[in-house]
């Protein structure tokens, strides 16, 4: 763990002397990219962060939204990429643990987990399969043990992640507004560390996350202990109920160094602490190790002498250790002692505020060439193509994953995983809908439009349940930011997200930046991941059984936008082409119309078109309902295109709606009134998925056969190779 030479100079000039070794460690941890956001912070400010529902107070590690009637939800997103790439089980599990503590630190109970998983090509690559399987088990073991349902996520495979892993986890919390922790502290207050013991495990983790994998630090392996985390959650919430917490902070990257300096800095206080008071796993740990250890399942509490006894009783009840490690002082110094001896005594605004950088950026050379279309080999048997797509790892059902996650515990899950967004019921009678989405294939071809596409897709998923998007989380994952071309892709994505967020008035309520995601063969594709939260005041759309005679309406235009599509990449092995672009006005109109229709209870099912395009989206409705469908390609709204492009284009802003015959008129009225591009393109009947063009049958697939492949192929691939 070390500082860059100029950072060291900067530190020396700020404190006016040579730093001690402990100070160096503390500052190096806090000034690492992971903790300080030094490359990104200046730019992140462009995102809109406020809105009528956003509650922002100092010291929250998660975003807070007012959902009415005295209730709030909190949300946060994190990744654990580097640790998961070397120890997928523990890395993924402790990733869940970390994001849960962010939710907890606002004083809310975690009620849902999401996971976004990305690995190399599991069809060819045994290492990727091993990473995937173990990451899933890690998330399952951790979330299930906590009793927090994992209700959604996504899984994607792409060669750009070979020998690497992206493990993103998001969490949602819920609570009463009055119970939010109002972070404050007074001189003389006590600083308490509670939870797991501090050990040598995970030393240097945040530095590790900011280095590329080659310089891997083996001590950064963390062993998950969900049992302690569960006890920590219950103890914190009980202490909160007794009003014993003045300020609360979770320990994550940078360990005590970050938690103590950031708490002191945000509250404008000083903290004096003694490393001898910290409960440790092993004896003989050096103060530096104690300060930067990233041992899991720990929380920092500021309380006072009067409240301490009750706090200790609660910890005792749950058999978790809590140590008074220090107290609040006036001034702004972080004073670290071991017994009587001082090891660090440094101003917290120096520690907590790294020098922010203005990194150079330059448009990558590859981008112009890659958007050119290529002449593809014509396909004679599109039924076979669709079957291959349906069984492909990126499109096949993810049931093998989410059935390992307890997604029912907490008895809130109204719409379960496996559809678009999942929906939770809230205590005030409203419903919360959420989904995370990424699309590195599109982001690689066009970083700006790709990022916007992820945002719109997450919105679409939430809209399909009848929810209005009220907040967004972004997780920006890129390679080495010191490379101007990579930094350019970061900025482009960020600008795209900002434009979309502003146009739709969806505030960004939190996020995370993860840089230096480099695999042995180069940087990952730009991988922004967007989480969208939606609120439903009255009734969600719970998908109803599709019956013989129901109609299929398609909303939104299909365009010649197959760049980054599964059709180009999986079937034709072609990376490039025209990336789908979101037309903001059209997107808004379509969202609004779908929400109108759902509110009027005119839809039985609503599903968005994404990966695999219309062909896959329509097949998914057939397969989940075990019913056939007759579709007419000539009716598909949009540009004039060849059949394969109509089937597999991944244009945004498109929805498929299943409608009972008797409601067709009313539906059309609404759509016409809103001037939306739409058409009735099919009718459900029989047991075949059939796409016709005029009199020609272009695709003819048995629903049964397709469904079997869709449901089982991912699990088969993982378990039996």
């Amino acid at each position: 763990m070390s500082l860059e030479p100029q950072e060291l100079e900067d530190l020396k000039s700020k404190i006016g002397r040579e730093p001690t070794s402990t100070e160096l460690q503390i500052v190096a941890a806090e000034w690492s990219e992971h903790c300080s956001y030094k490359s990104s912070k200046k730019h992140l400010k462009m995102l809109p962060m406020t809105g009528p529902l956003v509650i922002s107070e100092k010291g929250y590690d998660s975003g807070v939204l007012d959902v009415g009637d005295g209730y709030v939800i909190t949300a946060h997103i994190e990744s654990h990429n580097h640790p998961s790439a070397v120890e997928p089980y523990g890395g993924a599990a402790t990733g869940v643990g970390g994001v849960i503590r962010d939710i907890l630190s606002a004083g809310t109970r975690p009620i849902a987990i999401f996971d976004g998983l990305r690995f190399g090509d599991i069809e060819k690559d045994q290492q990727a399969r091993w990473l995937f399987k173990n990451a899933v088990t890690g998330i399952a073991d951790y979330g299930n043990c906590l009793g927090i349902p994992t209700i959604g996520g996504e899984v994607e495979f792409d060669e750009c992640y070979s020998n690497y892993a992206l493990v993103d986890v998001a969490a949602i919390g819920f609570g009463k507004k009055e119970n939010l922790i109002k972070n404050h502290a007074n001189k003389g207050d006590l600083v308490v560390l509670m939870g797991g013991s501090t050990g040598r495990d995970g030393i240097g983790g945040s530095q590790f996350a900011s280095d590329s994998l080659e310089s891997e630090d083996r001590s950064a392996v963390q062993v998950p202990d969900p049992f302690i985390e569960k006890l920590v959650i219950e103890a914190i919430l009980e202490a909160r109920n007794h009003n014993l917490i003045n300020a609360l902070k979770d320990l994550g990257g940078g360990g005590l160094s970050c938690a103590v300096s950031e708490t002191a800095d945000t509250l404008g206080i000083g903290i004096e602490m003694d490393v001898d008071k910290v409960h440790t796993k092993e004896s003989g740990m050096h103060p530096d190790e104690i300060m930067v250890s990233e041992s899991q399942e720990r929380m920092l509490i500021v309380t006072n002498k009067k409240k301490l006894k009750k706090l200790q009783e609660i910890c005792k009840k749950f058999s978790i250790t809590c140590s008074v490690i220090g107290h609040v002082t006036s001034g702004n110094l972080m004073h670290v002692k071991k017994g009587a001896k001082t090891f660090a005594n440094i101003s917290t605004d120096v520690v907590a505020n790294a020098h922010l950088l203005d990194r150079p950026s330059k448009k990558p050379a590859y981008l112009d060439a890659i958007q050119k279309e290529k002449k593809l080999k014509p396909i004679t048997n599109l039924s076979k193509t669709l079957m291959r797509l349906i069984s492909s790892p990126n499109i096949a059902s993810k049931i093998w994953v989410y059935s390992q996650y307890d997604h029912e515990v907490g008895i809130r899950t109204v719409v379960k995983p496996g559809k678009d967004a999942s929906v939770l019921r809230l205590d005030n009678g409203k419903f919360l809908s959420a989904k995370i989405d990424g699309n590195p294939k599109q982001c690689y071809i066009n970083p700006r439009e790709g990022a916007i596409g992820c945002f719109e897709e997450a919105c679409r998923n939430v809209v399909c349940t009848g929810a209005k998007p009220i907040g967004m989380l972004d997780h920006l994952q890129f390679g080495n930011p010191e490379d101007p071309e990579i930094f350019w892709t970061f900025l482009e994505s960020l600008k795209g997200l900002t434009d979309f967020a502003k146009y739709f008035k969806i505030p960004c309520i939190g996020g995370k930046v993860s840089l230096y995601n480099e695999t042995p063969s180069g940087p990952i594709k730009p991988t922004p991941l967007i989480g969208v939260l939606g609120l439903i005041d009255k009734k969600p759309l719970i998908p109803q059984k599709v019956l013989d005679g129901d109609s299929l309406i398609m909303i939104g235009d299909t365009k010649d936008e197959l760049g980054g599509s599964e059709y180009y990449e999986y079937i034709h092995k072609f990376i490039g082409g025209n990336c789908p672009k979101v037309d903001f006005a059209e997107s808004k109109k379509n969202m609004k119309s779908v929400l109108d229709l759902i509110k009027k209870q005119l839809l039985k099912v609503c599903h968005d078109c994404s990966k695999g395009g219309l062909a896959v989206a329509a097949s998914e409705i057939c397969m989940t309902n075990q019913i056939g469908c007759q579709l007419s390609l000539e009716k598909v709204p949009g540009e004039k295109l060849s059949d394969d492009k109509k089937l597999f284009s991944e244009s945004h802003s498109r929805y498929l709606a299943v409608i009972d015959k008797k409601n067709i008129k009313k539906v059309e009225e609404t759509l016409q009134k809103n001037k939306v591009s739409y058409k009735t393109i099919g009718k459900f009947t029989g047991n075949k998925i059939q796409f016709n063009h005029g009199k020609n049958t272009v695709i003819d697939l048995s629903v049964d056969k397709a469904q079997k492949a869709w449901v089982s192929s991912l699990g088969e691939l993982v378990t039996h190779g």
Partner: protein, 226 residues
Amino acid sequence: MKVGVVVFPGSNCDRDMFHVLTDVFKLDAQYFWHEKGLPKNIDAVILPGGFSYGDRLRAGVIAAHSPVIADVQKMAKKGIPILGVCNGFQILVESGLLPGVLLKNTSLNFMCEWTNLIVENNKTPFTSQFKLYQKIPIPIANGEGRYYVDDDSLKQLKKNNQIVFRYENVVNGSTDRIAGVCNEDGNVVGMMPHPERAVESEINPIDNKPSSLIFESLLSSMGVTH
């Protein structure tokens, strides 16, 4: 009428169960922490699901040594209705209150899915309102849910009518598709699926009435008319 919900370190379906008892069935429910005893005036005891002690060593085995279990045992002898759900079932088995053992699912994975149960014994305090062989759509969520007994014990179970629930289909490799059993007297029942997740129509995509009968049965056994 008081129902005790026992909470162990790591229980995580306690609050769900409490909600169902109090908000849905208007029962007077109360939490009891595993370190304390149970008061005499309790009319029924429920051991909820979760991961007591993180499922370490074996699901349920550490919790089975909790102080509260001695009282649960006494109440069982007195004929008071006791229900263990999921981890609660595992605890009852590990403390010897119910026969058999719960092993890792044959898939080796945690399984969370909806399945159908068949009521095989409608003489227990938790099944009296069912028709025999009635079907219950209900979710399971467990990693160690494969019920196992050897052939002789299975004969005993059948002879004493101790098999309370079977899965309609083979779900996880359980002996004879057993999903829930009772003690010889019939007042202690354990089941792997989660009835508390299935009694409200809002979260039950199939039919919430059958699962509700588990709680209706309890009410009727305690002499409460609903």
